[in-house]
Symmetry: C2
Subunit: 219 residues, 2 copies
Amino acid sequence: MKIFPRSYPSFNLIALVLIALMVAPLITDTRIWAQDQPAGNIKVPKGTLDAVTAILTRRSIRDYTSRPVPEEMIKLLLTAGMAAPSAFNERSTEFVVVNDPKILREISQVNPASLQLKKASVVIVVCGNQNKEKNKGQGYWQLNGAVAAENILIAAHAVGLGAVWTAIYPYPDRIPKVQKLLNLPAEVIPLNIIPIGYPGERKMQENRFDPSRAHYNRW
Amino acid sequence: MKIFPRSYPSFNLIALVLIALMVAPLITDTRIWAQDQPAGNIKVPKGTLDAVTAILTRRSIRDYTSRPVPEEMIKLLLTAGMAAPSAFNERSTEFVVVNDPKILREISQVNPASLQLKKASVVIVVCGNQNKEKNKGQGYWQLNGAVAAENILIAAHAVGLGAVWTAIYPYPDRIPKVQKLLNLPAEVIPLNIIPIGYPGERKMQENRFDPSRAHYNRW
């Protein structure tokens, strides 16, 4: 007995329906996969460096021109910072954008060596919110904040901006001053201040690859 | 009295020499500036994602295919890690590349939850060398290591590899086990283990932008 005799009319129909059921999810798949263009309203500016070049050619930029940094660039940098991974996906990092000239002037006095802060018209203060940590006091907010800050530094360089990590943590004198100036709650610790601006200095590339820092299988 | 009468023959000569002196450094400038292609022997693979897309679309990849990771890709990732900034430019971060199947098997048992380590044929262990710290015991090697690790995670995603931060620090039980397995000196603390491989899983993008984490001028 043939189960599917060639002349049986609904065999082709069944096959068609099965194929349609298999193909349909593929052509109607509107989900955004990790390799696609970024989700949300972030448009990648033209001329953005590729990630490898951006990472390898980034330098600390401490002088900026007076050209204002567009608001959408700050949004892009905040989005980059928030895209960083975090321990237990706790997302403990918070960001304070400062562009008020009065606060900028006061904040530049927290660390007298940070002359770069005086030249920037906008800075991002990267903070760790200890209330959002799942395991407190073990150093997680610092790691979460550091990777978020690195995202901001790379993204800034990639889109033609200059930036630099200006340490607040772990300085016991600087932390309370910044907390007071920005009205931060006690559990929110400023990790660093990143001034943002169009580069006012041109720096040479540095090839930091050092084979003595690479080890294979055992020390 | 004319200092430079039009008919004075050496005037044009002097002008020419001055112009030549000014122009010469510009056309003979072979230095590599920070916006150029990367220095060293790093070639940016075709199809590398731009930095903004790479940062915004990166996900933690915990499953890998058996396709081997070329040696030059590991070199690229190490170079990316070493290009990260560090406190006082102390470059305290060291990298241990593990591809020995025996050590990989042992290392995957340090954290029983880290099943991803069993599937990777190569991992990079990011360590902080406390002997290279200019100010010890203040948390700098952790920050230096975190930004180096983030560079590796972004670069891996940008060139089509998958990777994930698997924590060793701050777990007091995991640190000595990894130190023993890799024969690390006591002052070299493993921060994390990053398994590297071609993605064996496909993950959706996550838009992590959260306006409640962005603050303006004051909290």
